[in-house]
């Protein structure tokens, strides 16, 4: 230790940084993190779009006949009000089949009128890109069975239970910013979508953004994760046991996204691994492939590579509503 680097310590001669300044700063920073966390939990999360959507669902759930489940592509892409029968879009940002399963498991028994479940199944739906992450964990804590998840995924999941601050997690930060905007704007998702509809027409689907979305969803990940396939199957079986019909849907994607995604996964892969797989036979009533619904019209209907804009949502919702109505009319 005599000749060590630390023993050669020379006190500061240029800067007059006092110890108590440093200590105060550190303390203030830690306190600010805790304050942020409290504000987030009590003022922001309670008014977040996830919570508002779920609260609205709680009020209406006894009458819901058709339930739409998916992630942001479904949330942005389908307007449930266009559907003829009581339909609720219970999609959340960044959701996967595992989270959806836990939520449905808790909810299905409280949905006496439910006859149809429409499940999103896009090219990225079985990708492992977010399978060890929980998007907006504080919201999902009420549904998730962490014991089961930890057995499945291990430590990456366990940390969500003991998270000190949302700032330490990238998805926590992202959902905080989204929720903060919701609170500042004082609008729920549906209202914001209406707002954006006016502006979004000016934004063209961008090949770079689309490619980045493909990388985000697919590059370097397992495109058919076994756990996601397992929980997808569990959802189907939950529904079968309750005699709920299940339809799977591929929402429209931009040509740029589809082209870039070809290197990783195609609709044929989806057919081979899921739709024609004997494991899922008899569990899915019908699949609706709308991946290329708007060929060469990305600039009109897509917000970015994989999300529809207001115009796209209206058009697609009408098409899907009609197709589903034809199949699920009481006579059929």
């Amino acid at each position: 230790m005599n000749n060590s680097f630390i023993s050669s310590f020379e006190p500061s001669q240029v800067y007059s940084v006092r110890k108590w300044h440093v200590l105060t700063f550190c303390l203030a920073f830690v306190v600010s993190l805790v304050v942020c966390e409290c504000l987030n939990r009590h003022f922001i999360l309670t008014r977040s779009s996830n919570v508002l959507t779920f609260n609205a669902f709680e009020k209406e759930k006894k009458e819901v006949k058709m339930l739409l489940i998916g992630d942001s592509q479904f949330l942005d892409g389908i307007d449930p009000h266009i559907f003829p029968r009581k339909t609720f879009n219970l999609s959340f940002l960044g959701t996967d089949y595992i989270q959806s399963y836990f939520m449905l498991k808790r909810q299905l028994d409280e949905l006496p009128a439910l006859k149809v479940l429409v499940l999103q199944m896009n090219l990225h739906s079985f990708s492992s890109f977010r399978s060890d992450k929980v998007y907006a964990p504080v919201f999902w804590n009420r549904f998730l069975d962490y014991d089961e998840l930890v057995k499945l995924k291990g430590w990456p999941i366990l940390r969500y239970q003991f998270e000190i601050s949302f700032l330490t997690d990238s998805s926590g930060r992202k959902s905080f910013l989204i929720n903060l905007m919701d609170v500042i704007l004082g609008k729920n998702v549906q209202e914001q979508q209406k707002d954006v509809r006016e502006k979004v027409y000016l934004v063209s689907a961008d090949p770079v953004l689309a490619e980045r979305r493909v990388y985000f969803h697919l590059k370097g990940y397992k495109t058919f994760d076994v756990d996601l396939l397992l929980y997808f199957e569990k959802i189907l079986k939950l529904c079968r046991d309750r005699r709920i019909r299940v339809f799977t849907v591929q929402t429209p994607l931009s040509q740029y996204y589809l082209k870039a995604a070809q290197n990783y996964v195609t609709f044929r892969d989806l057919e081979e691994k899921v739709l024609l797989n004997p494991r899922f036979q008899g569990l899915i009533d019908k699949n609706f492939n709308y991946l290329e619904l708007f060929p060469q019209k990305d600039n009109y209907f897509q917000r970015d590579g994989d999300h529809l804009n207001g115009y796209g949502r209206d058009k697609f919702s009408k098409i899907l509503a009609k197709a589903l109505d034809d199949l699920t009319k009481p006579s059929s």
């Binding site: 050669s8 105060t24 990238s170 000016l202």
Partner: protein, 476 residues
């Protein structure tokens, strides 16, 4: 291993803890091992390549110094330069020269096929080969003595903070620091922590967020709108600056914490009012390397006007090529050379434009020059960032002939984002420039400092890109 990752944070905490308690000799050994792990984490096979260069430099350095025969000295210098340039040329430029040669022959109607190499470019190769060459040249010029300890020399080349993206340190400044005992100076430690934090802010908050704007502008298909291209260029100008300066600042900060004085590599470059000033502020370690080992040996400005211009053009062309094996870098280098030459030609005229010092007109003229020259630099970035000559031409045309807003909503959003990401950076740099003090923040009241650090930390926490985006200069 990237500075902006959690893995590196853990790595550095372990290295620094060991560094604090070890004595000088074992510090150097430990740093060498740590540097090899740092580099090997990317691809351990290329460690061998680096050690080929290190071994050659080490032995050639001693031979050059020990010999009194000028011919032998020259021979060993040539061997050293050949090995380093061969490594660089083979891994970095082989495919470029082959395809360019094939294209040239095609113009004359000849078709030949030379197989290309399918190898990845070793990270940091341009930096460590230049550092190694300067060592041998300085020994040849009798400016420094070679080190007799192989491990110390190996540490000089591999020292992890500056290994993969510089600054390109000279042996005369870094080697003595390696060989003598370093002291834990609290002032340096403060500066080091500040530089690391500021570097991370530049990289993760400014550069990585601006990258999204620049990528969208340069990735979109034609036709281009002039305003979108200009905003994309602004974004790229600050992206590349903050990406590279951020890396250099982190490298300096890590060095300072360990008692090393790593040279400053960027000194407020966008406050330059002329191309020569820009190159005294931008990538200082490379521009001074090119000046000392290329421009001056070519004759510098000592052999008449024409020779000066020729030397400037050669230096900048090769400087452009150093950045990458592609024609857009050559064009960028040529453009920089032209700027330097034209500025030299216009210098007598520009000197005549003057107002009384510190008068309003003098200040306005000063700001006008900064803004004008910044736009000239941005034009250079257009060549640097373009993916093809066609894109360069189309974007340039849009700036001149199609300067209109194609999408007011998106343009307003982009401007908002640019301002938000640049506000703190530009604000601080104006103060740094006005007071000519890079550590001006330490002189502020402590409450101001506290707010400043809060802003940095919360910007990083809330908006920083934490996916470990690669540094642009890694590819060079």
């Amino acid at each position: 291993m990237l500075f902006n990752t959690f893995t590196f944070a853990v790595f550095f905490v372990i290295v620094y803890t060991l560094y604090l308690v070890l004595n000088h000799k074992w510090q150097n050994r430990m740093l060498l091992v740590a540097s090899c792990i740092f580099y090997g984490a990317w691809d351990w096979r290329f460690l061998c390549l680096m050690f080929v260069s290190i071994t050659t430099d080490y032995f050639c350095g001693m031979m050059i110094y020990d010999s009194n025969d000028e011919k032998k000295r020259k021979l060993f210098l040539r061997v050293n330069l050949f090995v380093n340039l061969f490594i660089l040329g083979f891994f970095k430029y082989f495919n470029f020269f082959v395809t360019s040669f094939q294209d040239l022959l095609k113009v004359f109607g000849f078709k030949i096929h030379i197989p290309l190499l399918y190898i990845i470019l070793p990270v940091g190769i341009s930096f460590y080969t230049f550092q190694a060459m300067s060592y041998a040249i300085d020994i040849y010029r009798r400016r420094i003595k070679p080190t007799r300890n192989y491990l110390d020399y190996a540490l000089f080349v591999t020292y992890f903070p500056q290994l993969v993206a510089g600054p390109i340190m000279r042996a005369e400044t870094l080697l003595p620091q390696m060989l003598s005992e370093r002291k834990f100076r609290l002032d340096w430690f403060y500066e080091g922590i500040y530089l690391i934090l500021w570097g991370l802010y530049q990289k993760m908050f400014v550069a990585d967020n601006l990258a999204k704007i620049a990528d969208s502008a340069f990735g979109a298909p034609p036709p281009y709108s002039g305003v979108t291209v200009l905003l994309g260029l602004y974004a790229f100008a600050f992206q590349i600056y903050c990406d590279f300066a951020g890396y250099s600042n982190i490298a300096r900060g890590l060095g300072k914490c360990m008692g090393f004085d790593v040279m400053i590599n960027f000194h407020l470059p966008y406050f330059s009012t002329s191309p020569s000033e820009f190159w005294r502020r931008w990538h200082i370690s490379l521009s001074s390397w090119l000046r000392d080992y290329l421009y001056i040996p070519l004759g510098g400005n000592r052999k008449g006007t024409f020779a000066t211009y020729r030397n400037l053009a050669i230096t900048m062309l090769l400087g452009g090529l150093w950045h990458g094996a592609a024609w857009n870098f050559v064009i960028w280098g040529a453009y920089q050379g032209i700027l330097l030459i034209v500025h030299r030609l216009l210098e007598p005229v520009l000197k005549k434009i003057s107002w009384p010092q510190r008068s309003l007109m003098d200040r306005v003229w000063f700001v006008v020059r900064i803004v004008f020259f910044f736009h000239l630099i941005c034009l250079g970035w257009l060549a640097f960032r373009s993916r093809s000559f066609g894109q360069l031409l189309a974007m340039f045309q849009s700036l001149i002939f199609n300067f209109r807003i194609s999408n007011p909503f998106e343009t307003a959003r982009t401007i908002q984002r640019l301002l938000a990401f640049l506000a703190v950076l530009v604000g601080l740099e104006i103060f740094q420039y006005a007071k000519n003090d890079p550590f001006i923040i330490f002189k502020a009241k402590w409450s101001v400092q506290m707010v400043f650090y809060f802003v940095l930390l919360y910007s990083l926490l809330l908006f920083g890109v934490t996916t470990g985006e690669q540094f642009i200069y890694f590819q060079f």
